[in-house]
Symmetry: C2
Subunit: 289 residues, 2 copies
């Protein structure tokens, strides 16, 4: 059996086309979609990610401000910056980039982002609204995993899906998105005993544990679909996922790889959401679009 690769690029292209449609709908209205990225770290991989957001924004005709408070920023400075952006009517989307300085409460800060501007889905309220079926942005990476699965028409309703990882950025929101699609969902994590007993019983496995090589072919049911959401760096400095590719490829029916999978989709999703949030404010203001 050879695996199909569920690559992110075709998914991202569709999202970019949707964004272009939104931008076109906004032309002549005077509204320019604007995204603000709040940053307080000198972490190199974060800097890399923020550059890719800025690049994608430029390509999408979305205005992007990077508010870099530096790695010494206090919780108070972050709070002030987020509150100002929350009130700024010209800003449609706010991203609070992690990691944050030590001792700063990320969840409490994310709670300052109004749900309608929370295009990265970082505010815990967004997760609650998502679970309740209210309008809300799911955490970007979780939504990107769903976009990949749906683009490649992987069945979810009635299927058993195992999610490895219980973070607020992937595992927890992804479980809600899968439940909303009628999947039976098992959430595994570092304290799970006998991981294979869950993954072997699943038709879809999404791994977001941040542990290179965690998921091998021995843990899988023949013909299952695997989505890798891990981001690790190997000794050579290359980005690798949580999947042990060599052993998984002969067993899985399909694999969304790292790099080239879910990660490719996230920045395009952020632009689509920012353009949509801008359109929503226009609709709310009663201006014809």
């Amino acid at each position: 059996m050879s695996s199909q690769l569920l690559t992110g690029l075709p998914v991202a292209k569709n999202l970019r086309a949707d964004t272009a449609r939104n931008i076109k709908a906004l032309s002549g209205t005077g509204v320019v979609p604007k995204l603000a990225v709040v940053l307080a770290t000198d972490n190199e991989s974060t800097a890399w990610y923020v550059r890719s957001i800025v690049r994608q924004a430029a390509e999408s005709a979305v205005h992007c401000d990077v508010v870099d408070l530096g790695p010494q920023a206090s919780g108070w400075q972050l709070q002030e910056a987020l509150q100002a952006l929350a009130e700024d009517r010209a800003v449609h989307g706010i991203i609070l980039q992690t990691p944050l300085p030590a001792g700063v409460d990320a969840a409490a800060l994310a709670a300052l982002i109004p749900p309608h501007k929370d295009i990265d889905g970082a505010n815990p309220e967004s997760l609650g609204r998502l679970a309740a079926g209210l309008p809300a942005y799911a955490a970007t990476t979780a939504q990107a995993a769903i976009e990949v699965l749906e683009h490649y028409q992987v069945p979810l309703a009635g299927e058993h899906v195992t999610v490895i990882g219980r973070s607020m950025v992937v595992g927890k929101p992804l479980a809600q998105l899968l439940l909303a699609r009628d999947a039976t969902v098992t959430t595994c994590h570092s304290r799970t005993k006998a991981l294979a007993s869950h993954t072997k019983a699943s038709s879809v496995v999404v791994v977001a544990a941040g542990k290179a090589g965690l998921l091998t072919g021995a843990e899988l049911h023949e013909g299952s679909v695997v989505v890798d959401v891990g981001t690790n760096v190997d000794e050579a400095g290359r980005l690798i996922g949580d999947v042990h590719t060599e052993s998984v490829l002969p067993v899985a029916r399909a694999l969304s790889p790292v790099p080239g999978g879910v990660g490719t989709v996230t920045t395009s999703l952020l632009m689509l959401r920012t353009s949509q949030a801008a359109l929503d404010t226009l609709v709310a203001s009663g201006q014809p679009v």
Copy 2:
């Protein structure tokens, strides 16, 4: 094998003792814990439940106001009532009782209850905060199930727990509470195929599907622990759970029954939370307790 019955009364008694301690700590401060129950139905079982809240409040020295808007209440009237209670500094806890009149958006209304007064855990924001590890009240019934499991020292960390039901009042918050206790959690529901494959692999099964007789002994692993959170009414008008008791008792190591289990704990938990919320406002005001 004969099952241990995990009854709610000893759990409720402990919670009431904690409430009494809070009430004692409040004496002489001028603060009287106050709970408001907003009601808009003539449903008989709701009326029965609200009477039990009122009775428990009287026994606990918690002030309780029932704001009955009648079964014809509009969403607008409900919104006004909730906003007034949200602003009323004398009110420490707010319960929005379901069912609500047809066409009214329960989740949107519950979102009007400030998290610090949301002692029933109905606001979707409370679920999000719970998932993020921020201070929050979990939905009462979900927390009551945890109180029962912890009182009887049922191991949860590293265990596989299956939750049957994905509602905002039990299944979804319960999954978060279990994950926070390091359980591996599978959420099943009406669209789940092969329910037994999940429940048979679990050491703890919590059933909150609202379907009488749904869980039989044939679906269980010998020696597992079962918590029944179902509330159904049989032909004779008696309250029965989701567990098929006759077949489950010979297989399960322990069963929390209906009636007499989790339901017995909920009103006591509401009083404990109201008294705690009153204490919290006092602490926040800087007054010595």
